[in-house]
Symmetry: none
């Protein structure tokens, strides 16, 4: 089953609001194994909407249209669908009754223009709207299915979940279904990832695709098959091979977030951590503490921006700062050991680097960063060169720092297992 989504509303075209329906319905259909081939956003103009709908009817099995079901004159979806399909608009008395009661509960008489909301193309199944006045509609037209949903997200989502999802789950059975998993890696660039695994698959079935994020790459593995079990098996087989090649870089799957993965590992091992940050200026600490319950393993941190703080609070020897500079392996190690000593944490992570745009030199260019991890077994330090501007360098450093904690904890776990 191939689906096209049509979003109506001039406010979407001119960027007044973000199109969150695209993500919500996209995810829902993908989870049902329905292939989505196109999203189109069109303004509140009947001829343009009609053109978009005609095109979709030629190509897709399923067409979902959002918005334009309200009471005002720029709400054109019902009229446009009826005209394009050549069907009359028919009053649905239960819908009219629903709207009257809805307004009465709010202590209001139904405004005359709301009657429009109770008219639908002949033959439509009405989708109740428990949250607002505008019902939705579902039309089986020849071998096509059209679904009309209201624009407000808090009306669209319950309607989709209660009536559209079960209907589509029934129809999607028997057809081709798609299954997808996301493998998340860090510490390696997008093109390097492809060089490692590109021979395992590309646009075929099963297929591999890549999405680069700041400091992370997401590898999407998907497969299409006549049944869910078969598609899942195809994904699992390819996933196993991809995972093997990328194992050193994989930090999670699907909805995993790096700081949550680190938090789970710290909790499992019963260890605490503290941070000493220079160029990241508190970002590592703020990522770690964005996780609910992080007070169980995160003790605190020092943002040592000025050398006075590196010396006075973290105890970095003045001689180290003078001889090697603030951005150096030696300073990073002293910062990590300093925060570990200061807080009594099991692990001390430090970051010092040149975030730019100023401050770079030929020997120490913008992007150069040292990250050190002090542990009960000793202190390790790695040198990084992060690309991009200030924001990119800082994000790269945060992810790499979190990943160093993760790798240490995974190694510890393996040593125990």
């Amino acid at each position: 089953m191939q689906a096209e989504l049509i979003f109506t509303g001039t406010e979407l075209l001119i960027g007044e609001i973000v199109n969150t329906h695209a993500q919500y319905i996209g995810r829902e259909l993908a989870a049902l194994g329905i292939e989505i081939t196109l999203h189109t956003t069109v303004g509140d103009q009947w001829d343009r909407m009609a053109g978009v709908l005609q095109g979709a009817l030629e190509r897709a099995d399923l067409i979902i249209i959002t918005g334009g079901l309200g009471p005002t004159t720029d709400d054109l979806t019902r009229d446009t669908v009826a005209r394009v399909l050549g069907l009359p608009l028919v009053l649905d008395p239960p819908s009219l009754e629903h709207i009257r009661r809805f307004m009465a509960r709010r202590g209001t008489v139904m405004p005359e223009n709301m009657i429009r909301q109770a008219y639908f193309p002949a033959g439509a199944k009405i989708l109740p709207n428990p949250v607002g006045t505008a019902p939705g509609a579902l039309l089986e037209y020849r071998d096509r299915v059209l679904v009309l949903l209201p624009g407000p997200p808090d009306e669209l989502r319950p309607m989709f979940a209660r009536t559209v999802r079960p209907y589509l789950a029934g129809r999607a059975r028997g057809g081709m279904v798609t299954r997808t998993r996301l493998l998340k890696v860090t510490g390696i660039g997008e093109s390097a990832v492809q060089q490692l695994i590109g021979d395992l698959g590309g646009q075929g079935n099963p297929g591999i695709a890549y999405v680069a994020k700041p400091g992370e790459v997401h590898v999407r593995i998907s497969a299409k098959a006549p049944g869910g079990a078969l598609a899942e098996q195809m994904v699992a087989d390819l996933l196993a091979r991809v995972r093997e090649r990328l194992s050193a870089y994989v930090f999670g799957m699907d909805d995993d977030v790096l700081e949550e993965v680190v938090g789970r590992l710290l909790t499992q091992r019963g260890l605490t951590v503290a941070t000493a940050e220079s160029c990241t200026g508190g970002l590592v600490a703020s990522r770690l503490t964005s996780v609910p319950g992080s007070s169980g393993y995160f003790l605190g941190g020092v943002v040592a921006y000025h050398n006075r703080i590196k010396e006075g609070v973290l105890g970095v020897p003045a001689g180290v700062l003078k001889e090697y500079g603030a951005v150096s392996r030696e300073t990073a190690v002293a910062m990590a050991e300093g925060i570990r000593r200061l807080t009594g944490a099991d692990l001390g992570l430090s970051v010092t680097g040149i975030a730019g745009p100023d401050g770079g030199t030929p020997e120490k260019p913008v992007g150069l960063t040292y990250i050190a991890l002090a542990t009960p077994e000793g202190t390790s330090c790695r040198e990084f060169h992060f690309p991009g501007r200030r924001h990119g360098v800082r994000q790269g450093a945060v992810n790499s720092g979190l990943n160093m904690i993760r790798l240490y904890l995974v190694d510890q776990q393996m040593a125990v297992d």
Copy 2:
């Protein structure tokens, strides 16, 4: 001029990520007075992309395509545009040199597949990418204009702002133009803002619109007129009246960012600042240090998550923690004074609160936050109740903390003037 936007990427179709380009480019074109007629999102499949592009070429004067300029085999935009327009792909040597240098700065040899990023349809103007490897391109083809932009938002936005916006502003001259200014306020909610200024305008021309952000409200004032000068005058007149009513809350205009405004004021006054954070976990420090040159006024900070750090590093008396609790006016004051003493900064800002989801009580509910500012003249503390969940509470606290610094510096300045 009529424009269509084409967003490429299967990750958008299946809802893996939100399409933020739709909003950004939509707003930008609307501000230039360019009519946007259609948004289309299409997957990484060359035949479907070609079909969408052909349709757009039949209808629109301006076509902007995002994504698909990366190095991997699912990056198809360059190839598709060249095939549909019947143009050869030609190597652009400066782009190749840019990519080589970019990779060399990262200490890496350019992977072979990155050469693809230096090929463009013959006749294209290359749009430099200072942030990443993939350059963009602009093609004048018969009476159409095609613009190819990279997918990552932090690459697309500076490229659009530096090269595409000025180019389009030149071409859009002559028709109706729209001018927009953004007034940014903090310390007041969206509906309270509307109650103060709602009578001055709404959806008309000139118009007022509201966008709520965590801890901020942006008031958009826009006007449409036959000429830029007239539209600007209409905006300026309304802006002056809005500004007068909101003056106590306004922290900036247009691209202003609160931490930059604070940084400018600190630099002007020659003062330094340090932070002591509990529930915000380093977010205040990371916002302050996101500004280039912040090392001139930000000395450092302590993330005092565990009470041991509040006591041992910041010197909060154990009796205060025991009697009043970690989330209290007394602890906030002691933290602010402690970080000021520890770092020798002129100003010490502290934040302690309950971010949730756990840890709230009837007396101290989730969202309760104390923010204190220690200055040479003494220490002040304010109690806040931030709405929302963990993320919202933390963002609200960061903005309010930065705003307390701003208000202190503005008062200081007025006392001097």
